[in-house]
Symmetry: C2
Subunit: 248 residues, 2 copies
C-alpha cells in the first residue's frame, strides 16, 4: 500500500510547492482527518474541496504538486493523502514548540488541546516574571527565560510562540533566534526583525477585526443607497449557501 513508495524520507522531492498551496494543505489535512473519522476511505476533489471551503480545481492543482495522489474516476484515498500531506508538512514526528509569555493569552494557549492533535507538543513554557516561574500549567513547569538556550537545545525546539507584550517581543525574538529557534509564531502586535533563514508568522486579532470593520463599513455604505434589505426579518437568511461542508 503506502510502503510501495520509493522511500518516505527520500529528501529532495520538493518541487518547491507554491506558498499559497502550502497555506492550504493544513486545511485539507484537517478536512481529511474529519472525513476519516466519519468512515470515508475515498473522497472526490469536489467533496474535499467543499469540506475545506475551496474551489475544486484549485484543490486538484494543489494536490498535483505532491505527485500522483488521486485515482481518476474514483478520487483520493483518504488515509494515503493524509500520509502524503503530513509527509510534506514535516509532521511525521511531533515537533516540539516553546511558548514564551505565560500571561492571559499564554495560559489559554498552554492549555490548548489542539496543539497535541495537530502534530505538535508544547515542550516548554517561559516567562520573565519570577513570580510566574515554577508555576505548573497542564503538566509543565514555567521556566525562566534565561534557561532558553539550555532547554531549546535539550528538547530540540525549532518553533516558538511569542505571547508577551509587544514591547518585549523583539527582545524575546532575538533571544529565541540566538538560542537556535528558526520559526516564530508571534501574537504580539508588532513587527519582528529576524535574520534570514528564520520564519515569522503573526496573528493579530485587532487587524482581523479591522479588516472586518472595513467590510462592514462598505456594506452599510452600499445598502444606504439602493432599495436595500435593511432587516429582512429573520427569514431565509441562514444557511443558504453551500449546505453542510463535511460529509454529505
Amino acid at each position: 500500500m503506502s510502503q510501495q513508495r520509493t522511500g518516505p524520507t527520500d529528501g529532495p522531492d520538493f518541487p518547491d510547492l507554491p506558498e499559497a498551496t502550502v497555506a492550504r494543505l493544513p486545511e485539507y489535512l484537517r478536512a481529511l482527518h474529519h472525513l476519516a473519522e466519519d468512515g470515508h476511505d475515498t473522497v472526490s476533489s469536489e467533496g474535499l474541496a467543499a469540506a475545506a471551503g475551496v474551489n475544486s480545481a484549485k484543490l486538484r492543482k494543489d494536490l498535483s504538486h505532491l505527485g500522483r495522489t488521486g485515482t481518476r474516476g474514483v478520487g483520493y484515498d483518504v488515509t494515503l493523502l493524509i500520509d502524503q500531506i503530513e509527509q510534506v508538512l514535516g509532521l511525521t514526528h511531533r515537533r516540539a514548540v516553546a511558548l514564551v509569555g505565560v500571561g492571559n493569552l499564554g495560559h489559554a494557549l498552554a492549555g490548548y488541546a489542539g496543539f497535541g492533535t495537530r502534530g505538535f507538543r508544547i515542550a516548554a513554557l517561559f516567562d520573565a516574571d519570577h513570580s510566574r516561574v515554577g508555576e505548573h500549567i497542564n503538566g509543565l513547569v514555567v521556566r525562566h527565560i534565561d534557561d532558553l538556550p539550555e532547554v531549546v537545545d535539550q528538547e530540540s525546539i525549532s518553533i516558538a510562540v511569542i505571547a508577551t507584550p509587544a514591547h518585549a517581543a523583539q527582545h524575546v525574538a532575538d533571544r529565541l533566534v540566538e538560542a537556535g529557534v528558526t520559526s516564530v509564531l508571534n501574537f504580539a502586535p508588532c513587527v519582528l526583525n529576524v535574520p534570514d533563514g528564520v520564519d515569522v508568522r503573526k496573528v493579530d486579532l485587532a487587524i482581523e477585526l479591522q479588516i472586518l470593520s472595513f467590510h462592514e463599513h462598505r456594506k452599510s455604505a452600499l445598502t444606504a443607497l439602493p432599495a436595500a434589505v435593511q432587516k429582512p426579518g429573520r427569514v431565509g437568511m441562514a444557511n443558504r449557501l453551500g449546505g453542510e461542508a463535511v460529509a454529505t
Copy 2:
C-alpha cells in the same frame, strides 16, 4: 487643512480598494499610532514602510488609493493619515463586538486590552453553559446564547467572535447570522458556511504552526545536503537583518 475635504461621510468615495491593501491598512495604522506617540508629525513612505515591515513602493501605492494623502518632498502627515485610514476602515466610531464561547480562550480574549485601543468594544459575552452564565468578566456579565437576538439588537452589534469548540461553531454562526451579525471572526478550527453578504475570517493556530513546520522541514532537508552549518555555535546569528523597525 483637513476640513477642506468635501465631506468625511461622503459615502461612495470607495474606489473599491484592493483586498491586499485593506489587509495592510491596519498594519500602517498601528505603526502610525506608534509614531504619533513618539512625537513624529510627519513620516516618509520609507520610514513608515520600515515600521510596518513592507516595501515602500507598495505602501505608497496603497495610500494612493485613499486619495491625495502625502506631500511630495515632505512625506505624510501622521495624524491626518491616521484619520484617513480610520475613516476608510470604518473606525470612526467604536464598533460593538460580541464574543461567543467564554472558555479557555474566550476568557483571555474577554480580558484583552487590545480590543479597546484598536477601535472596538466588547459589548457582550455569550455562552451556552448555564453554569457560566451570570459570571462577571472584566465588567461584563456572561449571558445565555438565547439572549443573542435581543442583545445584538440593543447594542447594535454587527461583528462577533466565535470561541466555542469546533462542533458548535456552525450552529453558533447560524444563530449569529439570524440575529443580524454580518461579520464573524472564527477561532474554531472548522469551515463556516454563511450566506452571501456575511464575512468570515478565521484564525487557526494549528494551521500557522503547520505552515511553519513545512518551512522547518524544508530547511532541514536543504541543509542536509550542502556543506551546511548544522549548528553555528550561537555566533552572528542574531539580529543581522534590518535593524530597528520603528523610528530611527
